[in-house]
């Protein structure tokens, strides 16, 4: 069975946030809710300063604390490793938000789906996209599971102009993700949390 994962090349990422926008377009998330974003990290003092862009998203951890703490079974893991939330089961206890070491989950607050980007007016796009969400539940990146099921790549990977994001099967030793991890020494984020993320970073 495949285990889907992603490799993010920090040397290639230019911080354009095209992935952030592509994700919002694909998933139609309301204002203020991001399934992926690109964090800036600045180190040093003038004139020796280094800046790096670090794209982040749900790591679809193998040993996911969000799955463990969920009291309703709404957060679950598919056989291919993708961690999803069943909005019809979620009770909105937010235990998973607190348990995710990467803070990659967000609550869809009351009123969010009525407000839209234009405060009270929903565009036709928003009307269609918001249908799949519910208020009072927790949302997060799905690795674009609907696209993946059709043999496509997640939207952020498809959009990235620098090929900084690579998606594939971590269980296949010949996949591009496995080779990159092997050859360039892929590192899992916050490995000390023992979550075994399916997202790796290379530098």
């Amino acid at each position: 069975m495949a285990r889907y994962g992603m490799v993010i090349d920090l040397k290639r990422c230019v911080g354009c946030n095209a992935c952030t926008v592509a994700c919002k377009a694909e998933n139609g998330t309301p204002p203020g809710i991001f399934f992926t974003k690109v964090l800036e990290q600045v180190a040093g003092q003038y004139p020796i300063v280094k800046k790096k862009y670090v794209p982040v998203l749900c790591n679809h951890c193998l040993n996911a604390p969000c799955v463990r703490v969920c009291p309703s079974g709404a957060t679950h893991k598919r056989e291919d490793g993708i961690v999803l939330v069943d909005y019809n089961k979620c009770i909105g206890c937010k235990a998973c938000v607190v348990a995710c070491p990467y803070k990659n989950r967000e609550l869809m607050p009351e009123g969010k789906l009525k407000e839209g980007h234009f405060k009270g007016y929903l565009t036709p796009f928003e009307q269609v996209k918001y249908k799949k969400f519910q208020e009072g539940v927790v949302v997060k990146c799905t690795f674009c599971s609907e696209r993946v099921d059709q043999g496509l790549e997640p939207s952020c990977v498809n959009t990235c102009p620098a090929e900084a994001r690579v998606f594939g099967d971590l269980h296949d030793p010949e996949s591009k993700v496995s080779r990159l991890i092997r050859q360039r020494g892929g590192i899992q984020p916050m490995s000390e949390a023992n979550t075994d993320p399916s997202v790796y970073y290379i530098e």
Binding site: A43, V49, P71, G73, C90, I91, V137, M190, S191, N194
Partner: protein, 292 residues
Amino acid sequence: MISQTVPMVGEEFVMGYRKQSVWSKWIALAFFFGKVGSGMFILAVLLNTPLIALAGLVIENVGKGGALLIHLGRPARFWRAMTRPQSSWISRTVWVMGIFTVIGLIYLVLPAGSPAWQIFKVLALVSAVVVAITDGFVMNDSPAIPLWNTPMLPFLFLFYSLLGGTSVFFFLVHGGWASITPLVDLETLETALIIINLIGVAIYLGSMVNATATARESLRLLIKGPYSGMFFGFVVAIGFILTLVLTLFLGASGGTLVVGLITLADLIGHFFIFYLLLMVGVYSPVLGKLTI
């Protein structure tokens, strides 16, 4: 090597420490009612005051249960919280509350002194202690927040529960609303528990000094940052110093008003310590040790 300082950030797209914000006043209230209710029940069972035991059960179910329901984004589906006791501490808490309520009610309706009553007395006590500590495991189960991820929390919950129960009991007995058969010196018990809790909080917070940088950031927010006023005002000054001074120097001899003040001060400190521990829960930066 380039030096790096990690900032405290909000929702902006910048790497740094982030504060949790989804568990706040309602969870703090649920913890508060959970501990006071179970504490009252434990003392009431030990001191044979069934009415106060019933009050403890009501506080547990209405106070804690109500606060939890308000906290939920989808309260109508609350029953789903019972479906994952094999892995989720929240699920276990719901089960433990239900079991505690059933056992407590059976204990209260059985004829006092009967063999079945004796058995249910022990079961009721055990289940009340389990109720008091499970919330500690709920917090402790979050690997993301080092301040909470310590085995000391369940103990802190237990001793706060006993202190809360004793304070309310002290007030009720002194005001003449309850009488206790074995003559227990509630004033001495109250003083001892305040000191035990004070030491417990000091050890718990002290252990964060040598913990991870993220835990130290939580501690900084609590004692030097925006929450320091509430911490030193409500928790230290009112919750510990005022209660201790009033108990030691006036106590029961000061009259019902003083005892009421001790109880109120203790409950204020009690609520705020756990509210503040929730508010200063800080996540480590996303990449952890992987930094540039």
